[in-house]
């Protein structure tokens, strides 16, 4: 088959264009990366509420604290500047976000009556009234004015107080003042803050 010079050039050009169109170079591929979910969060330093080690944590809150924005906690992780844990956390501490983002979190007072097998909701007013009444009743029943040797002791042995690790100095000062005024001797907490 004889082809002319013109036809050869035409066919070469068409073939070359076809190859370019169906070529295999996809061009530069940019680096893809997932977005960092704490890139623009507000960081709040806090203390893990679980055990007495009192690890420092950073609470990451979405939003720039603008007036119309409602903040939302999105992440909690260890505080690398905290001398106790230097950024690490235990499995309970690592799950702290779930303390806030949890549909099973307890948000209202509940009571389980003696002998009952379930928790029932009660209002805050009723809660405080009942606690006050029980404290009074227990103190009246168990208050000891004088011990076996006749010394004045004025102690209430029927009540004990336990505190948590996030209780601050100021809070514990109030606890001691209040409890000692009732005569409570059994005071304990694990606060190291």
């Amino acid at each position: 088959m004889a082809i002319s010079r013109r036809a050869f050039i035409q066919r070469s050009l068409i073939g070359g264009a076809t190859l370019s169109a169906f070529g295999f170079d996809v061009g530069p591929i940019v680096a893809q990366s997932r977005t960092l979910k704490i890139a623009r969060t507000s960081e709040t330093r806090s203390t893990c509420p679980y055990c007495s080690v009192s690890c420092g944590v950073i609470i990451h809150t979405l939003g720039d604290k603008a007036k119309n924005a409602v903040p939302q906690v999105v992440h909690v992780e260890g505080d690398p500047d905290h001398p106790i844990n230097r950024g690490t956390l235990c499995p309970k501490g690592a799950s702290l976000e779930q303390d806030i983002l949890n549909e099973r979190r307890l948000l209202k007072p509940q009571v389980r009556r003696p002998g009952s097998d379930h928790w029932e909701d009660i209002g805050w007013d009723q809660t405080l009234d009942e606690i006050g009444r029980w404290v009074k009743r227990t103190r009246d029943a168990t208050f000891v004015e004088k011990d076996a040797r006749g010394r004045t002791v004025n102690r209430c042995e029927g009540i004990a107080w336990t505190g948590g690790c996030t209780d601050t100095n100021e809070f514990n000062y109030l606890v001691v003042k209040t409890m000692r005024s009732l005569g409570v001797c059994y005071l304990e907490n694990q606060a190291r803050v």
């Binding site: 068409i14 893809q32 990366s33 992440h75 992780e77 690398p80 956390l89 499995p91």
Partner: protein, 304 residues
């Protein structure tokens, strides 16, 4: 600690290296896992679930401290527990953090046919891009460590990203940060390898583990997650860690032999068909053989 922008090094379903490589210094990152100082507290598991916002599912108790039998599409990091009885009858608790090993030669990436569903960054991280995943699950069978896991609802495969979002911004992975005993460390591959070699030597010479060593399998050109084991000669005791992880040979044959040949054939078929058309012209209908049927009646006279 190695940081820097994530630059793509290899892409699944795509031949050759991406353009623009080799113009920057490329530090490789690595996770160091010292199983001898792991206490099995699972802080890394929780930190992983929390950082990646994965929905948690209820687990069942099956006579082990292990959270679940194997990693899941929404549980990328699992401590595998094994109570191993030594020759003298005493017990030894082996705990290994199981997650993606981020192989230098990833079987998942070699098996994946979807362009860009699996990428390997120059720092060694192998990352799945779910928007390009076609759900074929070839990566599941291509992985020597049984890591990629399929989600039947979204029809996509998921696995540990080595927190590429955090590492790309100069942060350490979530699991590494949480570890309270310091048995997990993160840094460049060179630094972590040196640290691991030193720790293994310490175990051999001072702690009574003559077979202690570093797990960095050469059969996948090394991994970006390395272990210090009490006994490097029996890695399978640590929750089934393969002694010699191998990518299935079928994927090598397919991707390295069959696929280039097929592409070449496709490449040649198109111009051959084109030039055949130019030189020979379109295929003409053959004239009907004499005596074969009657000629078709005109359009208006056909029976309805």
């Amino acid at each position: 600690m190695a940081t820097g922008i994530l630059q793509v090094k290899a892409i699944s379903g795509h031949a050759g290296a991406p353009p623009g490589r080799g113009v920057q210094r490329e530090e490789e990152v690595c996770k160091y896992i010292d199983v001898t100082t792991c206490i099995g507290c699972k802080a890394c598991e929780v930190a992983c679930v929390e950082w990646n916002d994965m929905p948690f599912q209820q687990t069942t108790f099956d006579n082990t401290y292990q959270t679940m039998p194997s990693t899941a599409w929404n549980y990328w990091n699992l401590i595998k527990f094994n109570e191993y009885q030594k020759d003298d009858g005493s017990l030894m608790w082996l705990m290994r953090k199981d997650q993606c090993m981020h192989c230098e030669d990833p079987g998942c990436l070699r098996a994946c046919p979807a362009d860009g569903a699996i990428v390997q960054y120059t720092n060694g991280i192998v990352d799945f891009q779910q928007e390009n995943c076609i759900g074929c699950q070839y990566c599941v069978s291509g992985c020597p460590f049984d890591i990629p896991k399929f989600n039947g609802t979204t029809k996509k495969v998921y696995k540990c990203t080595l927190c590429s979002d955090r590492v790309g911004q100069g942060l350490e992975p979530a699991c590494i940060k949480s570890c309270p005993t310091g048995c997990l460390k993160f840094g460049t591959k060179t630094d972590m390898r040196a640290l691991a070699d030193k720790r293994a030597q310490q175990l051999r010479e001072h702690s009574g583990f003559p077979n202690a060593g570093v797990y960095d399998p050469p059969s996948v050109n090394g991994t970006h997650v390395i272990y210090v084991l009490h006994d490097i000669t029996h890695p399978e005791r640590y929750g089934g860690l393969p002694a010699n992880p191998q990518i299935p040979v079928t994927y090598t044959l397919w991707k390295r032999v069959a696929k280039p040949i097929g592409l070449l054939m496709a490449l040649f078929a198109a111009p051959v068909a084109f030039f055949h058309y130019i030189t020979e012209g379109p295929k003409e209908a053959q004239p009907p053989s004499p005596g074969f049927g009657e000629p078709r009646p005109p359009e208006g006279e056909r029976p309805q």
